[in-house]
């Protein structure tokens, strides 16, 4: 009876404090993207918090203390598990939270708690650890085709270098124009960069972290960190916001000490190169483009200025903004691994992004996240409204290429 264990005792103190701090003011309901498309109050942030507080009370409250903890309603537990896995973990609720609850960390924490009680994860997410252990990625695709289908033949990768590039699983398997753009731009900057071999560049751990399956995280992180350290890396560059978030916030925790290199999002690295003159964009682009801030890049690690700085360096371009931009951006639906189970929600959210981009009069929607790239394309596939979708480095890569 895993669910009989007290619900407050196993939770980290900070999460418990977060659960208590919720005032049920309802401000988060105004920005929750899942609420926007699903319109079910029971899966909203304050309801999830209220439900978990009830679990704590039922297993550790006065009544439970006097009469002993009674079995929790299985249906209530299952509804709760479903609700926390339906969330995209975009963190918009935390950004707007009037008491500053860090929901982008709280929801994964509660997912972990449910997984440890044998109540989660749900659907296809359950098999992820075995898949990652077998293939090194969550897509169950062979490591042998991680780089080969998209890696440009003219780009040279150094055996050892101060700068390393981590392509990431979603980029390699689901958003190849993006990672192709990354390496083209890195190559154009002219600084030598290294990469781990396809078999060694394994999952960064984010999909496992976000679905509450933390069992193999230490091993994954150690493999990657030691691999880059052995190549003499000082700066690790990555374009995937989820990976960058995992590297910056969680790798040090799972590695057990400060990382021997710094983490940079690719837009930061490219913005530096543009400032120092190592890279320049000469081709112009007479288009109105709109940039979508990925949740884990803006709210997660605070990279907001640099993507805009990179886009502003394109001659002739007009940059538009979504109504909700920067740290207040709206999730495109790809986050939190929810898209793998709640596909319809994700598509509906992706279409909201497409609709707003078109309403604003944009010619092109610019993304900076492989999950967004994959999901918004999917959302548009059977949709009557169309817009050109391009990753930021895919765009820069196309503008610096020789004709």
């Amino acid at each position: 009876m895993g669910e009989m264990k007290p619900f407050g005792r196993t939770l980290p103190r900070k999460d418990l404090c977060s659960l208590d701090a919720c005032t049920r003011c309802g401000e988060c309901l105004k920005v929750c993207p899942v609420q926007e498309v699903a319109r079910r109050r029971e899966i909203s942030p304050p309801e999830k918090i209220k439900r978990y507080r009830e679990f704590i009370r039922n297993t550790e409250g006065l009544k439970a203390w006097v009469l002993g903890a009674h079995a929790l309603d299985r249906e209530a537990l299952e509804d709760f598990v479903r609700a926390i896995f339906e969330c995209t973990t975009c963190g918009a609720c935390g950004q707007t939270c009037t008491v500053g609850i860090d929901t982008q960390r709280l929801w994964p924490g509660l997912r972990k708690e449910m997984v440890e009680r044998g109540l989660g994860p749900i659907g296809a997410l359950a098999g992820m650890p075995e898949i990652v252990a077998r293939t090194g990625n969550p897509y169950d695709l062979p490591a042998g085709v991680r780089f080969t289908p998209w890696f440009p033949s003219h780009v040279a990768v150094a055996e050892r270098a101060e700068v390393a590039y981590y392509a990431g699983c979603t980029g390699c398997y689901e958003a190849q124009p993006m990672v192709r753009g990354d390496v083209k731009v890195l190559s154009a900057i002219g600084e030598p960069f290294t990469m781990l071999p396809a078999g060694q560049e394994v999952c960064c751990g984010f999909p496992l972290f976000i679905t509450g399956q933390h069992g193999m995280l230490k091993d994954l992180v150690r493999t990657l960190v030691d691999g880059y350290a052995a190549k003499g890396v000082h700066t690790l560059v990555c374009s995937c916001p989820c990976c960058v978030n995992m590297m910056g916030k969680d790798w040090p925790l799972y590695y057990g000490k400060v990382l021997p290199f710094r983490i940079r999002h690719i837009t930061q690295y490219v913005a530096d190169a543009l400032r120092s003159g190592k890279l320049s964009i000469r081709k112009s682009l007479k288009e109105r483009i709109i940039y979508h801030d990925p949740c884990y890049l803006s709210r997660g690690v605070g990279v907001i200025r640099e993507p805009r700085e990179v886009l502003r360096a394109i001659p002739g371009v007009t940059i538009l903004e979504f109504d909700r931009n920067r740290e207040n951006s709206r999730c495109c639906g790809a986050g939190g691994a929810a898209r793998k189970v709640f596909h319809e929600n994700a598509v509906a959210m992706g279409r909201l992004t497409i609709n707003e981009a078109l309403t604003k009069g944009a010619d092109r929607l610019i993304l900076s996240c492989p999950a967004c790239h994959s999901k918004v394309h999917e959302a548009m596939a059977e949709y009557d409204r169309k817009i050109r979708i391009t990753d930021i480095m895919e765009l820069i890569g196309s503008l610096i290429e020789e004709p």
Binding site: G8, R9, T10, L11, P12, R13, K14, L16, C17, S18, L19, D20, A21, C22, T23, R24, C25, G26, E27, L29, K30, P46, R53, I56, E60, G61, L62, T96, C97, T98, V99, G100, I101, D102, V244, G248, K249, P252, L253, I263, R264, H265, Q268, G300, V301, G302, V303
Partner: protein, 223 residues
């Protein structure tokens, strides 16, 4: 009625204390936070305290509601301090300094609550208000309104009030003042006490932590 009121006071106070202690124990028994201590700049702590005092996060997301909430919180604190004179003997010197502010706050408090209720129910059409918040706000409106009436129109003998409260604390209660409005005021406060959302005592910590997190986030990839 008197006995009911006295017993009610002990029960309400007991439930309130139990809930606070229970939360404290719960916190103590929970898992320590995972990870190594990150820097906690003094500056971010000061800004975090300012966030609490000014309710900055609410201001950023809902300025209309902020006006009512900030006024409510400030006046509630002042009125609560002013009420300490009924439970402390001798009273603290600083309470005399707060007295005029507490008195003025007492008159503003019900209006701030009324504003919050109208804002939530009329302007936001009740879309985002929780039932528990609605109940507590209404209850506080009753308490604060009867308090204003007691001070301005249906005056109660404060010496009788003080001796009633002090003897309650001394576990040898005398009869409460024979003022019906006071009984409504006191009874409403007794109903309120067990429903005080004691979990919200965590909110200030959450706000300070949020400010620290924002500072660290900025340094994470930019440092």
């Amino acid at each position: 009625m008197d006995l009911f009121l006295i017993l009610g006071a002990y029960v309400a106070f007991g439930v309130f204390c139990w809930r606070v202690i229970w939360r404290f124990l719960l916190r103590l028994r929970s898992e320590p936070d995972f990870g190594f201590a990150a820097g906690h700049a003094c500056g971010s702590r000061v800004l975090g305290i300012l966030d609490i005092v000014l309710l900055r996060r609410l201001f950023l997301v809902n300025k209309g509601l902020w006006v009512g909430e900030w006024t409510f919180h400030i006046t509630f604190v002042l009125v609560s301090f002013r009420h300490l004179r009924y439970v402390l003997e001798p009273g603290w010197g600083c309470l005399r300094f707060i007295e005029p502010f507490g008195l003025a706050a007492g008159y503003v408090l019900p209006f701030s609550l009324l504003y919050i209720l109208l804002y939530r129910l009329v302007l936001e059409r009740g879309q985002y208000v929780s039932k528990s918040n609605l109940f507590l706000t209404t209850l506080m409106l009753v308490i604060s309104s009867t308090g204003v009436l007691l001070h301005g129109y249906f005056r109660v003998d404060v010496v009788e009030v003080k001796s009633f409260i002090l003897t309650l604390f001394a576990l040898s209660p005398v009869d409460p003042p024979a003022n019906r409005l006071f009984l409504v005021h006191f009874l409403s406060a007794l109903v309120f006490l067990p429903f005080v959302p004691s979990h919200l005592f965590a909110a200030p910590f959450s706000m300070v932590e949020a400010r620290r997190r924002e500072t660290l986030r900025e340094d994470l990839l930019h440092g």
